[in-house]
């Protein structure tokens, strides 16, 4: 097809030419487009790349006072829709003492931004933001000292505000530009540089609008999928017919009648490249290839049993606490055991992954929506056979990825293909490949045994979890393209700490958590939002309710009586207040009705040192159909100092809705050859009609350090729901997802746990 000459294509391209997305702020103007400053700034940024300081220990890596008094902030973490683009400038502007409208923000470009680690684990603000706060504090201290010297006034009589340093008592000062404009600080981040009193912050704590929202609502943001590079070709990769299959033969004549199609084969890596996208799509569909048999997958129904019986498992005691009480449990104590299972799940991004690479012998530029812009540099350098500093990765917005979807794989596809064809290549994945081949949230099997006495004291607790070894926080996720093409890999990404929060956050007697690390697991495991914690909290907080029911105690009071952490208590008390919690044991009084109604809650102290979150739910369960209707979700959330309350709220809403979808509907299905849940019918998501009302209470602690808010609220969702269903019906759900069939089975008294 041809496009008309007036196509607005070129102007889009120039917005990003040479560098990462830039954001400028025009305060008070919610409609200011992203990239208002981008055209000129991007070009000067490309020129600046050669002179950038990238050492994350240096102040100059994070910020510069420009000659005109504006400030540029560079951040290695990227905005995935979670709002770092406003929150980090809020932090930097406040700490430095300048207006937000003077800040230009640059993110995620290995040639321009310091390596602050992968944007993951909810550390965007808690770590990335705090590095930038410290850089700003160090810079402010230096500016004040310079001003003291030049004004002949003691430093402690000066303040930095509105981009200038002035005597506290008033009078003439010096602007930041006059003090250092255009020059480097040449300072290391000073951990002792004093931070401002949180009381004095004027930007931190405000629900300022995210600068990319107007562009996202009007179609003017250039996503990864929209980006173009001159001379770029379009490719589709053809994945094996079965997991682990090898390419036997390719019949290139099958695409001979499609204009300009080139078939690229490198060992088991197979792709078609064309001048336009639609031709590439048609070629991928038409290309005939023969594949060997695959390496096989286990029978899905047997997966929990196979995890438990997996050979070569190594055991690790994660937590252990002996009891000081040697006496045998009293007669009224009740002992229980239960088994919980969480299936493999997909990241299920709404946009299949896309990337562009331009690779030559001299170096590589890769545009990607990956959360690991910097983290991918060594990985890509290795399989491309280039020095690390010759590989530049530039982040562009993609469809939300929540961990590691196929963004990295698409980028590797593009890189391998660009090198093969000697031109920039854009790779767009299909829906089927995205759901079929993205690395998966791993399966988790969890046993818990415990004893509670009549007073509600947990005398004994033991958690055993069976989880894939390659989720142990090791850098171990291989990328598909280099694997298929037989290229050496230094995998640079890991799948998150999935073993955390397997212990109860309450007072107990003897307690032990044991991980059984599995040598192998089907499909590639990867971090999926709140890695592992939704399953662990599901088991721990469901089991706590099972103990409460056995002891005929109110589950909320049981939690309060066992909590020693005051911030933990506060969120649970807040939930009690929000839900007008009536004290009684579960199940509730109408649990034998055709439609049972109930309430439940769950709590987590995320990773033991991050946010405190309690979630409560009200549900209706129809016995005849097994359908669960989640009517209302309540959340009390304490993530310390809140930088941007609306941003935090959006993240909490997203965490709850996405996890409800996972808990009610999602499970990767597979036959003995391949993944079979490859479209939105076989892998369905929560719909608008199914999304409940949300009541969220954010507890701000301005004088505490800010903690991650991007995923903690995912963790308690499943247990809160299972506990509410038990309250509504007396049936206990121990396997995710809570499909109507599983609910009916549980109501019929059958264990909802597959045979193990």
């Amino acid at each position: 097809m041809t496009t008309s000459p007036d196509a607005p294509r070129l102007s889009r391209r120039t917005l990003l030419e040479g560098g990462a997305l830039m954001v400028g702020f025009a305060l008070g103007d919610a409609l200011a487009p992203v990239g208002a400053l981008a055209q000129g700034a991007a070009r000067s940024a490309a020129a600046a790349a050669a002179t950038r300081i990238l050492d994350p220990k240096e102040v100059d890596a994070y910020l510069a006072i420009n000659g005109d008094g504006t400030v540029t902030v560079w951040c290695g973490k990227v905005d995935l829709g979670q709002g770092l683009r406003v929150a980090i400038p809020q932090i930097a502007a406040d700490e430095l003492g300048i207006g937000l409208d003077r800040i230009t923000y640059v993110e995620g470009d290995t040639a321009l931004t310091p390596d602050q680690g992968r944007t993951a684990g909810s550390y965007g603000i808690a770590r990335g933001g705090m590095q930038i706060r410290q850089a700003a504090a160090t810079a402010r201290k230096a500016l004040v000292e310079r001003a003291a010297h030049r004004l002949g006034v003691p430093a402690d009589e000066l303040v930095a505000a509105d981009g200038a340093v002035r005597p506290r008592t008033g009078g003439a000062g010096l602007t930041f530009a006059e003090l250092i404009g255009g020059a480097r600080f040449d300072l290391k981040l000073d951990p002792k540089a004093p931070l401002k009193d949180p009381e004095s912050y004027t930007l931190v704590g405000k629900p300022l609008p995210r600068p990319d929202v107007p562009a996202k609502c009007t179609g003017t943001l250039t996503y990864m999928h929209d980006h173009t590079v001159p001379g770029m070709l379009h490719a589709r990769v053809i994945r094996p017919a079965s997991v682990g299959a090898h390419l036997v033969s390719v019949d290139e004549s099958s695409v001979a009648d499609l204009p300009g199609v080139r078939v690229v084969r490198i060992q088991d890596f197979l792709a078609v490249v064309a001048a336009d996208e639609w031709t590439a799509i048609k070629a991928a569909g038409a290309l005939k290839a023969q594949w060997s048999a695959g390496s096989g997958l286990p029978a899905q129904a047997e997966l929990p049993a196979l995890l438990r019986a997996s050979p070569g498992t190594t055991e690790q005691v994660l937590t252990t606490k002996s009891s000081t009480d040697a006496a045998p449990p009293p007669e009224d104590a009740r002992s229980l055991t239960a088994t919980y299972f969480w299936p493999m799940q997909s990241h299920a991004s709404i946009g299949p992954s896309c990337a562009i690479a331009d690779v030559s012998a001299a170096g590589a530029t890769i545009w990607t929506a990956s959360q690991g812009t910097h983290g991918n540099q060594a990985t890509f350098a290795r399989f491309l056979g280039l020095p690390k500093d010759k590989v530049r990765l530039i982040y562009l917005d993609g469809a939300g990825c929540y961990g590691m979807n196929s963004h990295e794989d698409a980028a590797a596809d593009a890189a391998v293909l660009s090198r093969a064809v000697g031109a920039p290549v854009r790779v767009q994945w299909s829906r089927q490949d995205e759901l079929g081949w993205d690395p998966k949230g791993p399966p988790q099997l969890i046993d818990i045994a415990g004893t509670i006495d009549a007073a509600g004291y947990i005398r004994d607790w033991r958690t055993d979890m069976w989880i894939p070894e390659n989720t142990r926080g090791l850098p171990s996720i291989p990328l598909l393209a280099p694997e298929a093409a037989g290229l050496p890999q230094t995998p640079g990404l890991n799948s998150g700490m999935i073993s955390q929060n397997g212990d109860p956050p309450y007072r107990t007697g003897r307690m032990q958590v044991v991980a059984h690390w599995l040598k192998t697991a089907p499909l590639r495991p990867a971090p999926l939002r709140s890695p592992g914690k939704p399953a662990n909290c599901f088991a721990v907080e469901s089991f706590l309710d099972e103990l409460a029911a056995a002891a005929v105690l109110d589950p909320l009071q049981l939690r309060l009586s066992g909590l020693t952490d005051q911030r933990g208590k506060a969120v649970v008390e807040k939930i009690a207040e929000m839900m007008s919690w009536e004290q009684r044991p579960s199940p509730g009084p109408n649990s034998d009705q055709p439609v049972g109604r109930g309430r439940g809650l769950a709590y987590i102290h995320y990773k033991h040192d991050e946010a405190h979150v309690a979630i409560g739910m009200e549900v209706a369960v129809e016995r005849a159909s097994g359908a669960i209707r989640v009517e209302r979700v309540f959340c009390a959330h304490d993530c310390g100092q809140i930088v941007n309350p609306d941003g935090v709220r959006a993240q909490v809403e997203g965490s709850i809705i996405q996890t409800l979808s996972r808990v009610l509907k999602e499970e990767v299905t597979f036959d003995r050859e391949r993944v079979t849940s490859v479209d939105w019918s076989s892998y369905s998501l929560l719909t608008f009609s199914e999304v409940p009302k949300l009541d969220i209470a954010l507890i701000d602690r301005p004088t505490e350090p800010p903690l991650g808010a991007g995923e903690a609220a995912c963790a308690p969702v499943a247990a809160a729901l299972a506990n509410a269903v038990f309250d509504a019906t007396g049936a206990r759900l121990r396997t995710v997802p809570f499909t109507p069939e599983r609910v009916k089975a549980a109501l019929g008294g059958q264990a909802s746990m597959p045979r193990t």
Binding site: M1, T2, T3, S4, A7, P8, R9, R12, A30, L31, L80, G81, Q82, P209, R210, D212, V213, P214, A215, K216, C217, T218, G219, T220, L221, T222, Y223, H225, D276, E277, W278, K282, H347, A348, S349, I350, G351, P352, D397, G398, A399, G400, Q428, R431, D646, A650, E653, G654, I657, Q658, D679, W680, S681, L685, L686, T687, F688, S689, V691, K693
Partner: protein
């Protein structure tokens, strides 16, 4: 090469393609109108929705040839950052998008609904949007924004 005359965002355009089955989605994106997104190509997610004579249509399923003589509106055609459509303004005010990949299709579906029913109930809004998937979980804000855009503060 076959040519098709289609009104796109108010302007008469001619699309030339050797393949009349080429979905509208690719023709639009080829014209630089990239607000309309590829989500599944299977008619199951709504990311590619556009208005065709006022109705929400999945552009990944609509062959270019079927659009001859019709009027297509994409998100770019609804409004601009400086002069947004009331729905776009409401989505901005409610800070709806997270990744925003679904947002274009969601706003288009909502525009089709408001075209038919200027003051829909909350349940009608939800039903009208059931063909639009959002993975980031912006649903509650979407509903609030559509209520606000229709003059019913959520």
């Amino acid at each position: 090469m076959p040519r098709y005359d289609i009104r796109i965002n108010g302007a008469a355009r001619t699309i030339e393609t050797s393949d009349p089955d080429q979905p509208l989605l690719y023709a639009l994106r080829g014209l630089g109108l990239t607000a309309t997104k590829f989500g599944c190509g299977l008619g199951r997610c709504g990311a590619c929705n556009v208005l065709v004579d006022g109705q929400a249509v999945q552009s990944c399923m609509a062959p270019v040839a079927s659009l001859e003589g019709k009027s297509v509106t994409t998100l770019e055609g609804l409004g601009t950052p400086a002069n947004p459509h009331p729905l776009q303004a409401a989505f901005i005010a409610a800070q709806v998008p997270q990744c925003g990949y679904c947002t274009s299709g969601v706003i288009i579906s909502a525009a089709a609904l408001l075209g038919e029913k200027p003051k829909p109930s909350e349940a009608e809004i939800r039903t009208a949007l059931d063909g639009n998937l959002c993975r980031c979980g912006t649903h509650v804000r979407v509903v609030r924004a559509v209520l606000a855009a229709s003059g019913q503060e959520g």
